[in-house]
Each structure stands twice: as structure tokens, then as C-alpha cells.
Symmetry: C2
Subunit: 404 residues, 2 copies
Amino acid sequence: MLITVQKYGGTSVGSPEKIQHVADRVIHAYHKTKRVVVVVSAMGSATDVLIGLAKQLSLVPDPREYDALISTGENVSAALLSMALIQKGFSAISLTGAQAGILTESTHMRAKILTVDPSRIHDELSKDRIVVVTGFQGVNTLGEVTTIGRGGSDTSAVVLAAALNAKNCEIFTDVEGIYTTDPREVSLARKIPEISYDEMLELASLGAGVLHPRAVECGKQHGVHIHVRSTFKPDQGSWVKETNMEVSKPVTGITASEEQVILSILNLSHTPGVAGQVFQALADAGINVDMIVQSVENGSQNHISFSVHEEDVLKAKMVSEKMAALLGSNQVVLDEDVSKISIVGVGMISRPGIAAKMFSTLGNLGINIKRITTSEIKISCAISRKDTKKALETLHHVFDLDRV
Amino acid sequence: MLITVQKYGGTSVGSPEKIQHVADRVIHAYHKTKRVVVVVSAMGSATDVLIGLAKQLSLVPDPREYDALISTGENVSAALLSMALIQKGFSAISLTGAQAGILTESTHMRAKILTVDPSRIHDELSKDRIVVVTGFQGVNTLGEVTTIGRGGSDTSAVVLAAALNAKNCEIFTDVEGIYTTDPREVSLARKIPEISYDEMLELASLGAGVLHPRAVECGKQHGVHIHVRSTFKPDQGSWVKETNMEVSKPVTGITASEEQVILSILNLSHTPGVAGQVFQALADAGINVDMIVQSVENGSQNHISFSVHEEDVLKAKMVSEKMAALLGSNQVVLDEDVSKISIVGVGMISRPGIAAKMFSTLGNLGINIKRITTSEIKISCAISRKDTKKALETLHHVFDLDRV
């Protein structure tokens, strides 16, 4: 029996009216397959309100209590959607993460989902009930409510789809799908009908923001096809699934992230293990580091530079200065005018010259490239923020993304 | 080991600042006994906000989903209070009704508490933790969250006190205790230092509003002394406990309820079973009936009249008219100008003339008595609403309540 799994985000269930609308979409799916499991996020800003209350009582809220607190946001929206479905004449039931059998690590605030025991869900489905599951939460072996990190409802939905052997997972959101680039920046941005897990992983991590990277990873692992689509329009959105590696275009999407800062530690002593010490210290401080470059000039001048998210910059600067003093460096330099432009596509694997084409395009525009990093299916360049829009638009055109 | 059980109502935990204050009071108790269990209601109007959301999605919300929804209010306040205690350097943990071992009937929205398994609470207390329990909720044998009816947090607290063999249960609220009458109406109203369970039961049912009748009943049953006191002042409040039956004053307190309406069904056929049929029909419609009077005039004219809460009046009128048609009555009459004044006191049992004194006092004031009902320790008179204040003040004086 085919099971439909749908997930609705916070903006989609942000008010009673919107919940009514979501109920209608769920009923539409129920008429098709009779087996519908719906995962919901907390209403609109509910989670932020709860976090705000917690912050007023504790600078660093106790993790267990934090989870007990913010998981209530999803309990509210799940119960409300279930009520709306019942009011419309359908049989429905809301299940918490615990009731839905979602077992997580015992750690709090960002527990990973370990297993799903779908027996209760199957039981409710067999009674012809629409099952509404609270996203973002689970339970650990101690019986404590855990949450799985922000954006975790996407992951909850894909994990449930996998556990229920649903082929697809529909992620309903306030945008219409995944775009070749940000449509607010580039008017010619197009919706991508299909994209591979790997490409989506790069795009999700790069801040496209439509889909949580953990959900993509989980979909890839379990072969769940993810359909990102609009809650408010009936059209097809974008499918994330295995796609043919022999694709027609080398580049699938382009992203820009303007929240980067580059730190450079200059003139470090040129002894083995220096880089290891620097990045260990940064990791110990919980700082995510990106775009690492180590350059050795004249056989002894050793510079290390890397980019961090701007919210980590103060902490990163402190750690860097401490390490600089320890390792013989005389200077830590910050560049806060950084925008990271990335082109992503599985098609670039088999095609040489894509990187060169990106660099020369930027060069022809008179844009200075500050750093370059690459992966199998991604090339990123750090440039000045003032050049972001121009770079995006031109690369979008040069790599043929504004044409079908 | 002595265990302290405290309960804080919705106004007491209505904001982060107030929760800080409650945390300080809890810590004060912790310093004394080291074993503290705190029961909390939802923050201020949180429950009403949730009910408002539900009503927007369903006229008659599904009971299971309703409980899943509104129980989150207590989860929020319990987690926040626990965070505040931890922030202040104490070890604390919040427990849901289910985690605290509160097993209820399987019915929803007004489930009765069946048993409490206090092992988890004992376990946490033995780790020197302050235990914060969500009021108003439990779990049924199916593992579903249930709620125990409005005002139920009082009951949760007393039930826990009984299960934990705590001698006392402190009910912290926004008033300073139980008064001889409503201090907003009668300026000479005095705080009652001690009151018996039975008297409190009459007063609680009569709408004194400080303490839920179920909590009093439960305290009586298990011998838990209930201390009703102010969250915001350190003074002693009022103790509800077994008191000496030989008390000095016949009357302990006086209440007025202005939300009454009297319905009369006139000229019913005078056959056996008529009254039974009328009140069965009202009970089937879920209407609470009070002050029943049946009068038979001239051996055949049979009138039945009773009072209901004004929120039930439309339903009661409909049922009464249906029954009137069925049972040969030609008229249903409403009196909406009804105020019920009640004097309560165990002292009246052994003293004749208390009723007469009440009636003549009202008579001397020129107040017409519309109905009279009595119990062992209570005499109630229905009068016109315009006379409420005058009746309260005079009876308060006549029965010596304004003197210690």
C-alpha cells in the first residue's frame, strides 16, 4: 500500500487560516492514496517566541529543559492540524515524536535520529486515520523528549518516509521549488525540475535554505525522492533524486553567501603541525571553518587563511590571535568584505574547463578573486560583496541557466 | 524525609519575571526541606490562547487533540521554571504528567486521576533535584496525554502531596487566603486562618474560586493539609484541614453567586415520575441543576423550579420546554434576576435558629427571598441581584465575621 509523506513548514501552518488550507491539501492527498502521514513544524515564529522566553530565564538554558520547552511548538501545530482534519469530517490523530516511534541519541538540542519504529503509525493508518507527526523531535532511551536541531522537521519527514517505505517525501514550503540561483537577485532564475542529491547537498549547505542538508543526506542514503513544492500553489516543484550523471549542462545552480569573513594568520613559523594546531584550536571552540588556504612563500613565509561565518568572527579572531602568539606569527588580518559565489553541478565532473570559464568570466567583469576552493561538483570563489549581483547574473547566463 | 509540595497558579508564573520570583520562593523552601516538588499551571492566559486557536479550527475540538494541545501550556511553564532554577545554581528537572507517573482515566478533557506512581519523583529527589511537575495533566493506559479539567492543577498538587506522603500542600495564588466573604464586596472581610474541608468544599463549590473543589475533596480523603497563600507576600495564608467541630462561631464564610437563573415549569401533570423525567432530561443535556423546589398546590397543581448557571440557561430552557410539552405543562418561566447568597459553617450543626436568623435578617432589610435550599452546613437563599451587596455586608456583620 502506497504511503504519502508530506511535510509542512512553519510559514505553511502559521495561522488557523493557513492550517485550514494545509488540511485541504492533506485531504486532497488522502483522496488519492488513503495513506497519508503529515509532518509539521511549529507555527510561524512560535519556536522563536519560546526561545525568547528561555533566554530571559537562562543565558545558557539547560539542554533537557530547552528540548522539553521548544518541542511544545510542534505539539501545538500537530494537534491543531489534526483537529482541523477531524472538523472537516476525516479521521486523524496527532502523534508526538515519542508516540510516532522516533528514537534519537540521548543528547539534547541536536540529537540524531537512530531508528524509527513505525508500528504505531501503521496501526493508525490501518484504522483509516490521517497521521500528523510533530517534526523536529524524538525521544531518547530514557524517555526524555529530544529535539534534532533547527530545520530538523525536513529530516523527520524524510526519515519517516524511509521507515514507512514511502517512495517520495513531499516538502511543502513557501517557495515554489529549488532555483538555479536566488530569484530575488537574478530575475532570470529558473525552477530546477530535477536535481541530484549531491548537487542539492552542496546547494543546501551553501545556504539555498529550501531544504535542510541532513534531510538531503538521509534521502540519498535511503533512496527517498524529495519533492520540494509550494504549499500555496498546486504546481510541481523540484525533485531531489538520483539523476542521470550524463546531464546536458555542466552547472545546475549558483549560490552566493555574503555572511563570510576571511581571517589570515601571517608569518607563522614553518614547522610541521602548525596548521593542525590552528584548526584544532578553532574546532575546539566550535567554529566551522571554510575555504582554507595555506601558502608558503620564499620557502619559509607561512600564511594560513580561512573563512568563517560572520557570527563566529569574534570568537575566531580571539582563537587566531592566541594561536598566532603561540606559533610565532606577528599578525592576524581580517577581510570582512567577502561574498562566496559557488557554481554546483554534477555535469562539471566530466567536463574540463568549467573552473577556467568561471575565473575568466569574473576576470572579464573586473572582479578580483580573493580565494578559490573546489570539490568534485562545486567551485567557490570569494569576491568583494559589491560584486555579488553582477557575478551571479553573468555566471547564470554564461553557464546557460536562464535557458531550459 | 519531609517533602514539600507547592503549587503555583497561572498568574504566579505569568511572565519570565514572575517565574524568577517563583524560583526564589521554591529555593527558599528547598533550603528548609531539601525535598521540593513544585506543580505549575500554564502561564497567565496561555491556555485561553490555545483554546482560542482550537476554536478557530473546530467548533467542538476532538477531545484527544484538545488535550494534546492545551497540555503544552503546562509543559512550557514547567520547563521555564526548571531552567530558572538551574540558572540560579540549583539542580532541577521538569516532569510531564506522564513522566511524573500520574495515571488517569482514559477519557479526555476531564479525566479523573486514578493512581500516582511516585518512583520517578522519588528518584529525582534522591539526586537532590527540585522536581517541577506540569499540573492539570496526566497520561492514560494507552499512553495518551489527558487533562483533568480546568482548575485541575490544584488537584494535581494535592494528589501528589498524598502520593508522596507530604503532610501539607501549599497552594500559591494571587490572593492572600480564604476570606469570610469577597473582600471586593465587603471591606470588613477577614482572612480565615483555618477552615474545615467540608466548609471549604461548600465555599469552593459556591464560587469562592480560590481552590478547586476536587482538590479539597482529595485533601479531605487523604488527610492532606492545604495551605492557600499569596505568591507575592511571605505571610501565612489560610489552612484547610480537619478542625475542631466545636467552634465558636456558627458561620465561617458567606458567598454570593450572581450567575444564577431560575427556571420554573408550571402546572405539570401530577403523576409519579414527572420530576425524575425532567431532571433526567436536564442531566442528559449535561446541565448542572441547583436549588430544586417542587411545590404541589391544591392537591394537583404541580410546579417544578430549579436554578442553573446562566451559561446553561438557553440549553436548559430548550430542554424544559420540550419536557413541559411532553408532561402536560403549559408554561416555562424564567427569572434572570437571581443572586444566591450562602452562609457556610460547621458551627451551625449544633446551633438551632441560624436559618431563622438569616431569613429574618434579610426580611428586616426588606429583601424578598425567592428560594431557599439547605445542607448540613450551608443555607442558601436566592434573592434579587440588586440586594447582593447589602445582604452580604449585613449577614457578615450579624454572624460576627468582621470580628476575630
